[in-house]
Symmetry: C2
């Protein structure tokens, strides 16, 4: 399955932020935000297409703003 | 149906950006981005929960970044 560029970028940034904010494992972060580890894994690999509600939930869990979470996605990517 | 605060804020901001960028009607903007007018209306009223793919599509249509589109949503809203 091909992954849209903006989702790949989102996923990489999510992984980076998760580690930077001290959540070393997908498992611990998933538990923190009340999601399944496989879902977090899918997000980080760009396989899942999160809704605004999910983006806001992830941002809260990372203590960043939703805009921060989307920051590396340019208009064309 | 109650509308989550972050979706209400997103919807108001989308409406504001649409008008600022010169799309006077939901109909013309919907046609521009290849969505249904009723869907754009639902987004602007906070009734719909757009995916990342949709957020990116809207941002492209408005010629702003996806982060710009989410900018007014704070971590707590």
């Amino acid at each position: 399955m091909s992954v849209p560029e903006h989702r790949r970028i989102f996923g990489e940034h999510l992984r980076e932020l998760r580690r930077d904010r001290g959540w070393g494992s997908q498992e611990s972060f998933a538990h923190h935000v009340g999601m399944d580890r496989t879902y977090v894994s899918g997000l980080e690999r760009g396989r899942r297409n999160p809704t605004l509600d999910v983006i806001v939930k992830l941002a809260r869990g990372l203590e960043v703003t939703p805009a921060d979470l989307l920051a590396p996605i340019t208009s064309t990517s």
